[in-house]
């Protein structure tokens, strides 16, 4: 980056005392550089930062649109409610449970799949394509398919297969699952793990394929076991890819709305914060409370994002230093 700047500013610097004119020209050149950046920056600040400032303001207000005459400054009251209201506290807990379990499980399965796909076998390209497919089903559609075609207790595919397998052994009393009403959280986790594993697999596969093969070959020559190679060479190399996948996944899954909305409609303890906030302002019209809950999500996200940014940065600065 410095080469271009240096070339442009050299005439000014070479002069014994840079004239006012040269300095002005330099400044206008700097603005010429900035100009292409400005539309995007201004647009983003207007559409994302400004509304958040508004959310922050509303979060300190007692504002229910059904009784507008009672609108007033509320101080920290909304925040106290967010942290003490059993439903909202449950939503915070659900959000954490959902995010952590989906990220960890899909990372683990994704790692296994990436290790398998890193080997050469017949039809690998097709297997990879099949594995990406879950990620390319529209989330609402995927949630509907899980709810009705797979998990439905009477005619869903999973119970259907159980009946079929049991009938092979002459039994008519196949066990039948009803995840949606008995373990709704597991149903949500299952469908999200199914959608997010391909994402993790793709990132980890790219990480595996960027391994320095010469060290692996040298280790093999020296008689290292496959487990030893995995433990001491592959895993340390994959670490930042695991972190990147986990943190990017976490940022998306914290915000998940589609699966909770479609599969369980937030019932039976599956309402996460995005769903609870949607409910609070869209149906309960509690604008102040919804905003405070939104601010709490942002604080949580900032904690995750600080780690995420550090990881992305460690990958990024190597490129920036080129």
């Amino acid at each position: 980056m410095t080469t271009a700047t240096a070339r442009i500013s050299r005439p000014g610097r070479n002069a014994a005392t840079p004239s006012l004119n040269a300095r002005q020209r330099e400044r206008s050149l700097a603005w010429a550089r900035r100009a292409p950046l400005l539309p995007a920056l201004v647009f983003l600040i207007l559409v994302t930062q400004l509304p958040f400032v508004a959310t922050l303001v509303i979060s300190f207000m007692n504002w229910n649109s059904l009784s507008p005459d009672k609108t007033a400054f509320a101080g920290l009251e909304n925040y106290a409610t967010v942290l003490t209201d059993p439903d909202l506290r449950q939503a915070i807990f659900t959000t954490i449970l959902l995010t952590v379990s989906v990220v960890l499980i899909s990372l683990l399965i994704g790692l296994g799949l990436a290790l398998l796909l890193d080997k050469k076998f017949i039809g690998r390209g097709l297997a990879r394509t099949l594995l990406i497919a879950p990620f390319l089903v529209v989330p609402v559609a995927a949630a509907l398919i899980w709810k009705h075609a797979l998990l439905n207790p009477t005619y869903g595919l999973i119970n259907g297969i159980l009946t079929w397998v049991w009938s092979l052994f002459g039994s008519t009393a196949a066990p039948q699952l009803d995840l949606l009403s008995q373990a709704p959280m597991m149903a949500v986790i299952l469908s999200l793990v199914w959608q997010w594993t391909p994402f993790m697999m793709l990132i980890l596969l790219a990480g595996l394929q960027s391994r320095p093969m010469d060290t692996v070959e040298a280790a093999q020559m020296d008689g290292a076991t496959p487990w030893g190679i995995f433990r001491h060479l592959t895993l340390p190399h994959l670490r930042q890819y695991l972190e990147l996948g986990g943190l990017l996944g976490a940022i998306y899954i914290v915000q998940n709305f589609d699966a909770v909305f479609t599969l369980t409609a937030g019932g039976l303890g599956t309402a996460n914060l995005p769903y609870a906030i949607y409910q609070t302002f869209y149906f309960a019209n509690e604008y102040g409370l919804a905003s405070a809950a939104g601010v709490v999500v942002v604080i949580g996200t900032i904690i995750v994002a600080t780690f995420a940014l550090r990881t992305v940065f460690s990958l990024f600065k190597k490129e920036a230093a080129r």
């Binding site: 292409p36 559609a141 995927a142 439905n152 909305f261 995005p274 992305v312």
Partner: protein, 310 residues
């Protein structure tokens, strides 16, 4: 350190021209030689990979199969895999008896996704240019500002956006949704495009500048050939994210500007036999994403990881 792909853009240069399949398999023969008995090992891995791939694909394949079954065949236990195929579910989804057509919502989705993607590209390309080819000072700080806006959950800004739209009369207006999708995808697009533009060899840019080529010529002859596949992938990924979006569309649109995901959530009545119809609806609405995703497959990882992984 050198193991990290972003550090070595040159090494990825020649590989880019080959097909994705060739690139994926490119490393295997080298390693095969070093193994004692590579075939045995790989057969087991191949079988395991295929079984898992099929397991993951079963819901998708089942969705497609069921969409071609009649409602009675779709709702059986055990499943009727070999039932007769029919297009009834698709006819029903497109409103043969109900008269409710999904076309307005599909058209809304298409316009919201395509127009917001065009806007994103128009805003992101100059920005990415000012962050890579002729970078501003402190360009890394700017990059992280863009990224940080993406980390803010939509729910943290949706209420003011809703109130604003209601006040100015922009509720249920597709253009307001287009602006929202533009802001949603802009940070991702800037990051992706920067990583693709950074692959343009510096020497070529310098040579062209010395030869006195103007900006338009440089864009057309030097930047476009290198960055075009990446820009196309960026567009496809932005399209996918917009097409998939539900929360903003649900809050900000209604009967006029409702998108396909909104239509889908309202479509499920919950009564009677409708499983085949649900599957047909899911297939129809997922088709554009499946096409876009497979078209961008080659660059999907780089795009989804914001250019951090190649």
């Amino acid at each position: 350190m050198s193991t990290l792909t972003p550090a070595a853009p040159q090494s990825s240069g020649p590989a880019r021209s080959t097909s994705p399949a060739a690139r994926a398999t490119g490393r295997a023969p080298r390693r095969g030689k070093a193994r004692m008995d590579p075939t045995r090992n790989n057969t087991a891995a191949g079988i395991a990979a295929w079984l898992l791939a099929l397991l993951f694909a079963v819901p998708v394949l089942w969705m497609i199969l069921t969409s071609f079954h009649s409602e009675t065949d779709a709702a059986t236990n055990p499943p009727s895999i070999a039932a007769n195929l029919t297009l009834d579910a698709y006819r029903e989804f497109f409103g043969e008896t109900s008269g409710v057509s999904p076309w307005p919502s599909l058209i809304n989705s298409a316009s919201a996704s395509i127009l917001s993607t065009v806007l994103v590209l128009l805003l992101a390309f100059p920005a990415a240019y000012a962050l890579s080819i002729r970078p501003v000072k402190k360009w890394t700080d700017v990059m992280f500002f863009f990224l940080s806006t993406k980390m803010m959950p939509v729910v943290a800004a949706i209420l003011p956006l809703y109130l604003f739209a209601r006040t100015v009369g922009a509720l249920d207006n597709i253009w307001f949704l287009i602006l929202m999708y533009t802001s949603m995808n802009l940070p991702i697009a800037v990051w992706m495009m920067r990583s693709f533009l950074a692959e343009v060899p510096e020497e070529m840019l310098e040579a062209a500048q010395i030869d006195g080529a103007n900006l338009l010529l440089i864009l057309r002859k030097i930047i476009a050939p290198v960055a075009m596949p990446g820009i196309a992938a960026t567009a496809l990924i932005c399209f996918i994210f917009s097409w998939n979006e539900l929360l903003l569309a649900r809050v900000l649109t209604g009967v006029v500007a409702g998108t396909a995901p909104v239509f889908l959530t309202g479509f499920v009545s919950g009564q009677g036999l409708f499983l085949a119809q649900v599957c047909a609806a899911a297939v129809v609405i997922s088709l554009p994403v499946l096409f876009a995703g497979f078209a961008a497959q080659d660059k999907l990882v780089q795009g989804l990881s914001l250019g951090a992984v190649k």
